[in-house]
């Protein structure tokens, strides 16, 4: 790895083909919420092979993710995806489910496991256990504060991967309520969840992706990058599975530039970056739980940007 790793998420080959990934060092392939997501990498092994190849051709690392809550019936497919990932030279797999971590540990011991946010790492002791099962890095549960993250990373001796931008996952379900509306809308599954769907009530807003719920606001740690870097973090994610290619490309570039500046000791702020961020948010910005507060709050100087939409 270079000075840092900036990565993002892609659900299918179309997203991959349409996105400019030059700002990134690595990509996670696959949609973790739903097996029926259109041409999900995790269901299309032909696409997965091609996707891994294309990503590596561009000089990026290719990781394959896995379902947040796979039931027994999904495990055979998970198995095949892991086999495909291993055979195609994927650089790692992301696991959100501890059963899948166990499968990787037992059958693909050479494959690095990245523990994902839905695996509910809340304690250093927990991360330690998962390390014994092959985890080489972890995304803490999204409720964990920065202070706690440091303790966990130190205690377990494996680095944390932190989401720095994008809508924050808030929950996963086995039930897609959008299917209740298929009859009434022109769009059908698997296209339903690709609309920019928001659940709103008063000033509350959440992004619905059918079987998952994300924050309505975009997590944005741009002004806090110096803090993260100083604390020793070097792996950063832009959650963009349900965003446009433009979002992926432009936000990625914003963070690439900012991280290079911060690591180079340059404290200047690029106002154009904030303008771009403002363009790519519908509801506003938040800091998640990083500062130990209500997840939808924004802590920092850029409060006016946070409220913009």
């Amino acid at each position: 790895m270079g000075a840092f790793e900036l990565n993002t998420t892609l659900s299918n080959l179309r997203d991959l083909r349409q996105s400019d990934l030059s700002a990134y060092d690595a990509v996670y392939l696959g949609n973790i919420y739903c097996r029926l997501f259109e041409d999900n990498f995790l269901e299309r092994m032909d696409h997965l092979k091609e996707g891994i190849a294309r990503v590596k051709e561009q000089g990026l690392r290719a990781y394959v993710t896995s379902y947040a809550a796979p039931r027994n019936d999904a495990l055979p497919k998970v198995q095949i995806a892991l086999e495909t990932a291993a055979a195609a030279g994927a650089d790692g797999v992301e696991v959100h489910n501890l059963g899948v971590l166990r499968m990787v540990h037992e059958q693909f011991p050479a494959m690095p496991s990245h523990v994902g946010g839905f695996a509910n790492v809340y304690t250093d002791a927990g991360a330690q256990v998962l390390k014994e099962y092959g985890a080489v890095r972890f995304t803490p549960n999204y409720e964990i504060s920065l202070e706690e993250v440091e303790g966990i990373a130190r205690g377990a001796g494996i680095p944390a991967e932190l989401q720095v931008h994008g809508k924050m996952p808030l929950g996963v379900s086995d039930y897609c309520f959008l299917l209740e509306y298929e009859q009434h809308w022109p769009e059908k599954c698997p296209v339903l969840c690709q609309k920019q769907l928001f659940l709103k009530q008063g000033d509350w807003a959440m992004r619905s992706v059918g079987k998952g719920v994300l924050s309505g606001r975009d997590l944005c740690m741009l002004e806090h990058l110096p803090t993260l870097v100083e604390a020793g973090h070097r792996i950063f994610r832009i959650e963009a599975a349900y965003e446009t290619p433009a979002y992926r490309g432009q936000i990625g570039q914003v963070y690439r530039d900012a991280l290079e500046r911060v690591l180079g000791g340059d404290a200047t702020v690029d106002e154009r970056a904030w303008a771009l961020i403002g363009e790519h948010t519908a509801v506003g910005l938040c800091n998640g739980f990083y500062f130990g507060r209500t997840g939808s709050e924004y802590v920092g100087k850029r409060v006016e940007a946070a409220a913009a939409c």
Binding site: L36, R71, D73, Y175, C176, F177, L179, E180, E182
Partner: protein, 317 residues
């Protein structure tokens, strides 16, 4: 069911209520009926033990029905009795006698589901107003006319019709139009589903006069629609399992479009939910009451739908 709930105030055009539409609440218990009336319902519909769709849950026995009729009478409000399962031939005589007795007690309106039974009640108990149940599956003007010819004085239409469709029906049929604006929009049209009895069909308890068949919502139901549609079904694509899902169904509550339905001439706004606990009935009725009153007071333009109570979905229908 034609008397207005809004007494005439004066002869001027200003301030006269635009509609005489009634609000009809479900009552699965006496307490629910009380709360419904208190919250502003003009009428309630109740099930008679052994004889209504959906079964044991949410039915009244004869004594409770008597009290309900008295309660309504004291407030000058109305009761509809849901007798809307399809009786077997040997049960019809018994049921007719039962209804005749209840008519003596002051019962004025029954909800029926079976065309033959409907005609028979019309002929033999001419004093009773007959509402064709939602289980009849009527969806258009010709359906409505069919039931009108049979002798129904009113018909219940599902809340997933559009206001224009209602207006079209109103234009041709003269019977009262009731619309179930608050209901569960099931995967299969209400009244046309026998998935549960396909799976399991057993003669059940001996408590009730009707022979309740476990699994049949239409034949008594024993309180058990087995909710086949709400079990996780495995979806196979080309023989391969790809997903597990429930048959989609959702709770609708079209209080926000009340104005359109009232404009279209709906006579009765009906709320589904004999399985709802009393306070929830009260809260939903209150919401619809305030919405209807706001509309009839002419707050047309600025009218905003009131918020539905939290957990307004029907629990365990």
């Amino acid at each position: 069911m034609t008397a207005s709930a809004h007494p005439a105030t004066n002869d001027s055009d200003i301030g006269l209520p635009k509609t005489c539409a009634q609000l009809l609440a479900p009552a699965g218990s006496l307490e629910a009926a009380r709360q419904a009336f208190q919250a502003g319902a003009d009428a309630v519909y109740v099930g008679l033990k052994g004889w209504s769709r959906g079964g044991a849950r949410g039915e009244l026995d004869r004594e409770q029905l008597r009290q309900c009729l008295e309660l309504a009478r004291a407030q000058r409000k109305r009761v509809q009795l849901a007798v809307n399962i399809i009786p077997k031939p040997q049960q019809r005589q018994r049921l007719l006698e039962e209804l005749a007795e209840l008519a003596d007690w002051g019962l004025e309106a029954v909800i029926l589901n079976d065309v033959g039974f409907l005609r028979e009640v019309r002929q033999k108990l001419p004093g009773l107003a007959i509402i064709a149940s939602i289980g009849c599956g009527a969806l258009n003007a010709d359906d409505a006319l069919f039931y009108q010819d049979l002798g129904a004085t009113a018909i219940v239409l599902p809340g997933n019709l559009e206001a224009e469709e209602i207006a079209a029906i109103k234009a041709r049929a003269s019977l009262q139009i009731e619309v179930m604006l608050h209901m569960v929009e099931e995967f299969i049209q209400l009244g046309k589903c026998w998935m549960p009895s396909y799976v399991h069909f057993a003669a059940a308890d001996k408590i009730f006069p009707a022979q309740r068949l476990g699994g049949s919502v239409k034949r008594g139901g024993v309180g058990t629609c087995y909710r086949i549609c709400q079990q996780p079904w495995t979806v196979l694509k080309d023989g391969v399992e790809v997903d597990q899902r429930l048959f989609p169904s959702r709770q609708i509550s079209r209080v926000g479009e009340l104005a359109a339905f009232l404009e279209a001439g709906v006579d009765v706004i009906k709320i589904q939910g004999r399985s709802l606990f009393p306070e929830m009935v009260g809260a939903i009725i209150k919401t619809y009451r305030s919405a209807m009153d706001a509309w009839s007071c002419g707050q047309g333009g600025e009218w905003k739908a009131p918020a539905l109570p939290a957990m307004w979905t029907v629990q365990g229908r």
